[in-house]
C-alpha cells in the first residue's frame, strides 16, 4: 500500500511534469490481423461496466473527481455507445451487476483484462517499450475460459464479444491554465487537463483480444452529448467492421 501510494504520488507529480508524453504518438490502435465481424447474422456484444471518471485538475495538477460530471458522462457515453453500435448493426447488452461466485469471476476477468490491456498499451501500441517477440503479430488473449461469461448478460442468446471501455478526464481549472501560461513564460512545460481512454473488444468464444484502441489525448467534452458522441467516435475509431464492409466511418489520423 505504501508502495502504491508512493507510485500514486509519483504519478501525480508526473502529471504535472513537463509534457513527457510528447515523445510518442498520443493515439494508437491495433487489431487481430484480418479480423472482421461475420458478414450477416446477429452479433451480440456484452459491455462491461465502463470505467469512467471525470474531474477537475487543480493548479497543482491534482484531480478532483466530480460526481455530477462523471454520472452525466457515464449516461451520455452509454447512449453514444448504443447509437454508434446500432449504426453498425450489432446488439449491445450492458453487463448487469452480479452476485456471489459470478461476481468474483467477473472481477477476475476485469482484472485480467486490465493486465492484458496495460501490457498491450505498454508493449505494443506505443514505441519505446515494445516487446521484440510481439512485434510482428497481434496476439493477446484472456484465454478461452472467458466463455463462462457468455451468458452473464442475462436472457437471450449467449454473447459473442465483450467490450471494455475506460475513460479518464480531468479538466484544467482556471488556476491550472494560469499556471500553464505562467510556466510557458519561464520555459517550463505544464500540461493542463488530462483526457485519456481506451477500449478493447474480446471474443468471448476464444478469449482473444480482437481489437484495442488507446488514446492519451482524447477530444470531446464527455459532459456534453455532442462531446460524448465525439469521444465514443474516437474510442471506437477503427472498430472492426462487418466482413466486406467499408471500415469505420471516422478517418484514421496520420499519426498511425
Amino acid at each position: 500500500m505504501l508502495r502504491l501510494l508512493v507510485s500514486a504520488f509519483a504519478g501525480m507529480l508526473l502529471l504535472c511534469a513537463p509534457a513527457a508524453h510528447a515523445q510518442f504518438g498520443a493515439e494508437a490502435s491495433a487489431s487481430k490481423s484480418g479480423f472482421a465481424f461475420p458478414k450477416d447474422g446477429a452479433v451480440k456484444i456484452l459491455v462491461f461496466r465502463p470505467d469512467v471518471s471525470v474531474g477537475e485538475q487543480s493548479t497543482g495538477g491534482m484531480n478532483e473527481p466530480n460526481a455530477e460530471w462523471t454520472e452525466k458522462a457515464r449516461t451520455l457515453l452509454a447512449a453514444a455507445l448504443s447509437s454508434a453500435q446500432t449504426r453498425r448493426a450489432n446488439e449491445l447488452v450492458m453487463m448487469p451487476e452480479l452476485e456471489g461466485d459470478k461476481a468474483t469471476l467477473l472481477a477476475d476477468y476485469r482484472g485480467l483484462f486490465r493486465a492484458v490491456a496495460n501490457s498491450v498499451i505498454a508493449h505494443k501500441l506505443f514505441a519505446g517499450n515494445r516487446l521484440p517477440t510481439k512485434r510482428a503479430d497481434f496476439n493477446w488473449t484472456l484465454g478461452d475460459g472467458v466463455s463462462a461469461l457468455r451468458d452473464a448478460g442475462g436472457a437471450g442468446a449467449p454473447a459473442d464479444y465483450a467490450l471494455f471501455v475506460y475513460t479518464y478526464d480531468s479538466y484544467g481549472s482556471a488556476g491550472r491554465k494560469a499556471a500553464q501560461i505562467f510556466g510557458a513564460m519561464f520555459g517550463v512545460g505544464i500540461s493542463s487537463g488530462v483526457h485519456m481512454g481506451y477500449a478493447g473488444l474480446v471474443d468471448l468464444k476464444t478469449g482473444e483480444l480482437v481489437w484495442i484502441n488507446a488514446d492519451v489525448k482524447m477530444g470531446g467534452d464527455v459532459r456534453e452529448a455532442d462531446g460524448a458522441d465525439k469521444r465514443i467516435g474516437q474510442l471506437l475509431e477503427d472498430f472492426p467492421a462487418r466482413a466486406g464492409a467499408v471500415p469505420a466511418a471516422v478517418p484514421a489520423p496520420a499519426t498511425k
Binding site: 500500500m1 504535472c16 487543480s58 497543482g60 466530480n66 461476481a103 468474483t104 491550472r176 499556471a179 510556466g183
Partner: protein, 392 residues
C-alpha cells in the same frame, strides 16, 4: 488511527492523495450522521462517488475477511458505543493485512486491518479504534482534509518553477501536507472517549493501545539495532500527533473521567479472545513471516500474558528457527517441545522440531520427529520434501 509503527503517516495520507475533492476554504458543518445521511455539497458527492467505486472493488476482494461471526462481533462493538441508529450508516470491512491500521472512507466504509486485531488485547481497545474512525466519519474530516491538501499541491505547482530552491520548498510542503490533520486526529481521539463511555467501555483502553504501539516499535528497532523510532512529533511525513503525546493525553482524559454514566467501564478481555479464536493462528503466521524478530517476539509475549498456548509456542519456535542465529535452533527446539507438551498440540510443531534438530546435533531424533509429522499430516503440502529429509 494509523500509528507510526510501520508506514503510518503515509497510509493516513493515502485517503487524502487518493480521494481528491473540490476545494473551498470553508469549514464543513459538523452534525451527527444519521443512518440515511446523503452527501450534501458537490465536492462531498464527488468524494463519495470515488469511494463508492472503491467499495465496489472491496465487495469481491479476496482480502476481505468474510467470517460472519467475526464481522458480527466487530460491528456489535461499534454499535454498542455509537448506538444502533448511527452505526447503521457504516459498513465494516476487515482487511487481511498484517500491519496496524484502520481507515475510514467518507462514505461510511470502515476498513479494519487484521494486523490491528492481532495487536489489540481487549474489546475496549477495539472500541477505541472503531470509535476513533467513526469520529472521523461523523466530523467529515476527509472533506476538510482534502480541501487543505489541494491548496498545498497548488502551492507546489507554483513553487516548482524555481529550480533547486523550488525543489527544496517542495519537500517542505510535502512534509506539511502529511503533517496536516493533527487537530483532527486529536479531535477524533477525544470524541472516541465519549463513545467508549457511552458503550460502557473503560476509556483508559485508548491510551493503552498507543503504549503497546510504542513498546512494539521499540522492540522492533532494538532487534534491528536501529535507533528507537520515537522521534514523535517532529517526524517528516507524519500526519499524526506524536504517539507518546497521544498516549499521554488520552490517559489524562481517561483519568479525569474514568467511568461513564452507566458505571465503571469494562475491558472485555475474554469476549475479545473468544471472538478471535479461529483467527489467532493465521494472523500470528502472517506476523511471523514479516521478518520482524523484535516486534514479533514482543507481540507473542503480550499474547501469552494469560499463558503460552501451543500456537504461541509453535510461532515462537518458527520465529527463532527462521532467524537462524547463534543458539536459535536450540531455543526453537525448546519452544516446539513446549508446544507439543500442551493438551492440544499443533501438529506442525513436529515439523519445526524435526527441522531444527537436523540443524543441531540431533539429526536422528530430527528425522523421527519429521516421520511423526508425516504420520499425523499425511496430506502435508511439503510431504515429499519432508519424506526425503526424514530419510525416505
Amino acid at each position: 488511527m494509523s500509528p507510526r509503527g510501520r508506514c503510518p503517516a503515509l497510509l493516513a495520507a493515502a485517503s487524502l492523495v487518493l480521494s481528491p475533492i473540490a476545494a473551498q476554504a470553508q469549514q464543513a458543518q459538523v452534525k451527527p450522521i444519521p443512518a440515511a445521511y446523503q452527501p450534501e455539497s458537490a465536492e462531498e458527492r464527488g468524494l463519495w462517488m470515488e469511494m463508492d467505486e472503491a467499495e465496489r472493488a472491496l465487495k469481491t476482494s479476496r482480502f476481505v475477511v468474510r467470517d460472519p461471526a467475526l464481522n458480527a462481533y466487530v460491528r456489535g462493538v461499534l454499535c454498542r458505543e455509537v448506538g444502533e441508529d448511527r452505526c447503521a450508516a457504516v459498513r465494516i470491512y476487515i482487511i487481511r493485512t498484517p500491519h496496524f491500521n484502520a481507515t475510514m472512507m467518507p462514505n461510511g466504509a470502515l476498513q479494519l486491518w487484521t494486523g490491528t486485531l492481532l495487536r489489540l488485547r481487549n474489546e475496549a481497545q477495539l472500541a477505541a479504534v472503531l470509535g476513533h474512525e467513526f469520529a472521523h466519519f461523523e466530523k467529515k474530516h476527509s472533506l476538510q482534509n482534502f480541501r487543505n491538501f489541494r491548496g498545498k499541491t497548488d502551492a507546489m505547482a507554483w513553487l516548482s518553477f524555481f529550480g533547486l530552491l523550488g525543489a527544496l520548498a517542495n519537500i517542505g510542503i510535502l512534509g506539511s501536507i502529511f503533517s496536516f490533520g493533527q487537530d483532527m486526529e486529536r479531535e477524533a481521539d477525544v470524541t472516541s472517549l465519549d463513545y467508549m463511555r457511552s458503550g460502557g467501555y473503560t476509556p483508559g483502553a485508548a491510551s493503552a493501545v498507543w503504549s503497546q504501539v510504542i513498546a512494539e516499535g521499540d522492540a522492533t528497532a532494538l532487534a534491528r539495532q536501529q535507533k528507537k523510532r520515537r522521534h514523535q512529533g517532529g517526524g517528516f511525513l507524519d500526519s499524526h500527533p506524536a504517539t507518546a503525546d497521544r498516549m499521554a493525553y488520552l490517559g489524562e482524559l481517561a483519568r479525569k473521567a474514568p467511568v461513564g454514566a452507566a458505571g465503571p467501564g469494562i475491558e472485555g478481555v475474554e469476549p475479545y479472545r473468544m471472538a478471535m479464536t479461529d483467527w489467532w493462528a493465521s494472523l500470528i503466521d502472517d506476523q511471523v513471516k514479516l521478518n520482524d524478530f523484535g516486534g514479533t517476539e514482543f507481540l507473542l509475549g503480550r499474547l501469552a500474558e494469560h499463558g503460552w498456548t501451543s500456537e504461541l509456542l509453535y510461532a515462537r519456535g518458527e520465529l527463532y528457527r527462521t532467524r537462524a542465529g547463534t543458539g536459535d535452533f536450540e531455543k526453537s527446539v525448546d519452544f516446539y517441545r513446549g508446544a507439543l507438551a500442551t493438551e492440544r498440540p499443533v501438529a506442525e510443531a513436529w515439523r519445526g522440531l524435526g527441522l531444527s534438530l537436523l540443524r543441531t546435533s540431533g539429526a536422528e531424533e530430527g528425522r523421527q520427529a519429521l516421520r511423526h509429522y508425516l504420520e499425523i499430516r499425511p496430506q502435508a503440502p511439503d510431504k515429499s520434501m519432508i519424506t526425503m529429509l526424514a530419510g525416505g
